[in-house]
Amino acid sequence: MTRSTTDATGAALNAGPGGLPGRIRGVATSLTSSLSGSAALTIGLGLIAVHVVLAVLAPWIAGHDPVATDSTVALTGSTWTHWLGTDQYGRDILSRTLNGGRYALLVTFLATTIAVGIGTVLGCITAYADNWFDEVVMRIVDALLAVPSILALLVVVTVFDSGLWVIVLAVTVVYAPAVTRVVRGAARTIITQDYVTAARARGEKPLSIVFREILPNVMDVVLVEYAMRASWIVLLISTLSFLGFGANPPTPDWGLMVQENRTALTVAPLGALAPIVALATLVIGLNLSADGLSKSLGIDRAQKGAVS
């Protein structure tokens, strides 16, 4: 089985040395092989996929405007028109939950991608540089890591208001240092490998070594890091909204919904429970993916090695 998988990868890469379509197909092949091997990864990615699909289709399946108030139907239980009931202003909870997912996913995706992207590149570069640049960057990283993330975010949001990009950038500043540190550690083990020495002996430029030789080989660490950071960031953003520093009312947001509907928990419990369940499933999905990825990528490598 392993042999056929790797052969398929090889065949996919046949498209040409370094050809981008070939490489994407190669990644897809190895992803399907990872999926078949790990239940955690399948469930995790499944949960994330459900969330993404629901978020994308939210306007069409929700049936109600998430911010439209209707005081005649405030705090109903679940009814045929409002499946999950309404909140104190008569807004449809299902619609708010679904639309809240759009916001959560968008911010998480942007913040995680930027934070992990910056952290990865910086981690590889500092690992390879191993000179004053490395020292300076890592001391800054240490300083940033020493600041409690929620405090830093509160300050930023208070000063700059809570627009989407403010939150995204603030989260980036908070999480990029941690990613830098992790990736730097992984990259340092890669640097001792002979193929990096070979590239140095050829006289390749440092950036070319970082992007051709080091970066592709830390991608597994980066993927796991991505899934893990994403789950933390989802929680962090919801926490911010819950505390009243994130999304402004009446934006449909999970943290904000929990905060708004928490007082009505005994009357209309679904108002707080629905966003909690949504948030929990997304975080579980991300965590399971991180777990499954780290396992299957590790095993994947060992198996490929065993083929030889």
Binding site: P17, D194, A198, R202, G203, E204, P216, R301, K304
Partner: protein, 580 residues
């Protein structure tokens, strides 16, 4: 095939005088849903005080068989048929408690890498005491010291106070042996016990094991890929291939008259220090018309840090075009540092080091690679020891070769990549494979193709065959020799193995402690007279078929450096020395 001296009868009771009796053993390994047989119908037995050598290439199943004697099976494998009897009991029928008593008690294992077999955070003495006490033996200080003396380590009192990392590889392996014999086992299983050691240390450790087996009446199973080691140690040899013993005979008989085709092939590909032929005639032809040197080094000093002693100390040599200079020495002798300095990965501290190519490319090799010209970088190419780590696992073979092509020649085409692959004995379809899909030998060929892609005049080969099986090694060495002749490449060939060097080198330099002690044509160095260090290396090298171990002392140095060199003519020079 005059095979197995053990008959397939005697199914239940092992012959009374044998310690080990393996009867028709078959093991298979579950890969996905398939069962892959890894060992098929293996039978042998070993009597006390006798040694059986199990020889084969990696993947032949020899280690799997050896580990069954300790009732150990790799996860996922299972016994399909047959039985393994050690000291009268079927090891796979034992209960947990009895199995623990067997391991380390009746049968002990010495693994390849002693550094990993010892606990790094525990003093050696305490580990030995544990080995004793875990088998219910008194673990007094005297008893521990006695064990250390038994494995001939000098100054036992200080040795037992040390941590494993404070010991040399040879000392670690001796401690591992001491732990193994602590409970007076009746069987000692040695799995590639000396592969990680220098030749001199190897010879001394093997001699120790040999003596211990006689003294303690132990049966020995020696697993090795090295025919020289096995022939010096074992009374009988079993040759394994693909899980089957293809030939099993007395050692002398096997070497005198190998029956199976595979055995003959193995013997033919094993390098020997006593070999003649190829390099002799080449050397002679060359001496008449010496080509101008490609690389000249004079008083070269390389140092890793100012506070450390130089790793390469005042070394002078020259490599001519189309000439292979081999540098031989034990680990830590500075030979790899020399290669690294030549590749420009560490700058030389002082001395001159110049490159003068055929087509007018000149350069200063003391400079780091970043300050060398493109032409100079192109002309000097490096092939690595470990082909597993020298290729980027995420890039195809084609991409690995195309990269230097683009960098040095400015253009790359699939045709040129295919051409290079064919030059190193591979087929063009390898271009689309990933390194993980290649065998060790194939990877090393790709490494050579990558070096050739640049169009070099000089190749630095740093222990390039150390990780390879003998037959594969022979192939790679042949390739290197052919390329040198066809393309007129100069080559700096670094190796710890004199036998390998004999087949490929025109000239040999022997290095120890950062200095050359002898340099000369291959013939001269192998025929002597020699520097005492060279002599020691030559004595310690085990040719396949040697059945005696020449007593080699790896602990004391019998000479010290004196000033100046003795010139024996024909470029054969020996550093002066005095007895110490």
């Amino acid at each position: 095939m005059s095979s197995a001296p053990v008959s397939t009868s005697s199914p239940v009771d092992a012959p009374p005088d044998t310690v080990v009796h393996v009867d028709d053993l078959s093991i298979s390994y579950a890969a996905g849903r398939r069962d892959v047989p890894v060992v098929r119908g293996v039978s042998f037995s070993i009597r006390p005080g006798r040694a059986l050598g199990l020889v084969g290439e990696s993947g032949s199943g020899k280690s799997t068989v050896a580990r069954t004697l300790l009732a150990h099976l790799r996860r996922g494998s299972r016994i399909v048929g047959g039985r393994v009897t050690v000291a009268g009991s079927d090891v796979f029928a034992l209960g947990d408690r009895e199995r623990r008593a067997l391991r380390g008690g009746t049968a002990a294992l010495v693994a390849q890498n002693a550094g990993q077999a010892l606990t790094p955070s525990m003093r050696v003495g305490r580990q030995l005491r544990e080995a004793l006490e875990s088998h219910g033996l008194p673990g007094g200080h005297e008893r521990v010291l006695e064990l250390v003396r038994h494995v001939r380590l000098p100054d036992p009192e200080t040795i037992v106070e040390r941590y494993p990392h404070q010991l040399s590889g040879g000392q670690q392996q001796r401690i591992a042996i001491a732990m193994a014999i602590a409970a007076r086992p009746r069987l000692l299983v040695l799995d590639e016990p000396t592969t990680a050691l220098d030749v001199v240390t190897q010879a001394a450790v093997l001699e120790l094991v040999r003596d211990l087996s006689v003294e303690l009446e132990m049966a020995i199973l020696l697993v090795s890929h090295d025919l020289g080691v096995v022939s010096a140690m074992a009374d009988e040899i079993a040759v394994m291939r693909d899980g089957v013993i293809v030939e099993h005979r007395q050692t002398a008989e096997l070497f005198a008259d190998p029956q199976h085709e595979y055995t003959r092939e193995l013997l033919a590909s094993a390098p020997r220090t006593s070999a003649t032929g190829l390099s002799a005639e080449r050397g002679g032809g060359r001496a008449s018309a010496p080509p101008p040197p490609l690389v000249t080094a004079a008083d070269l000093v390389v140092r890793y840090a100012r506070s450390l002693p130089p790793a390469v100390d005042a070394v002078s040599f020259a490599i001519g075009a189309q000439e292979t200079l081999a540098v031989v020495g034990e680990s830590g002798s500075g030979k790899s540092t020399l290669a690294t300095a030549m590749a420009g990965l560490i700058p030389a501290e002082s001395g001159t080091f110049t490159f003068r190519g055929d087509d007018g490319i000149e350069g200063d090799l003391t400079r780091p690679v970043a300050r060398r010209s493109l032409d100079l970088r192109r002309s000097v190419q490096l092939v690595f020891q470990n082909a597993d780590t020298s290729l980027n696992p995420r890039r195809t073979v084609g991409a690995a070769i195309a990269r230097p092509l683009r960098l040095f020649t400015g253009s790359t085409s699939p045709d040129r990549v295919a051409e290079l692959l064919e030059e190193v004995g591979l087929t063009p379809d390898f271009a689309s494979r990933l390194p993980a899909q290649l065998s060790g030998g194939q990877r090393q060929r790709v490494g050579i193709a990558r070096a050739l892609a640049a169009g070099p005049e000089l190749i630095i080969a740093d222990e390039i065959t150390t990780a390879l099986d003998v037959r594969v090694q022979a192939g790679v060495l042949d390739l290197l020799t052919d390329l040198r002749d066809e393309k007129g490449l100069g080559c700096l060939f670094i190796s710890h193995d004199l036998a390998v060097v004999r087949g490929v080198a025109d000239r040999v330099a022997v290095m120890t402690g950062g200095r050359f002690v002898e340099i000369g044509s291959t013939e001269d160095v192998f025929s002597g007279p020699n520097h005492p260090y060279t002599r020691q290396l030559l004595d310690a090298t085990l040719d396949p078929g040697t059945t005696v171990l020449r007593g080699v002392d790896d602990t004391t140095r019998t000479w010290r450096d004196a000033d100046g060199w003795d010139d024996l003519g024909d470029g054969h020079r020996i550093r002066r020395w005095e007895s110490a």
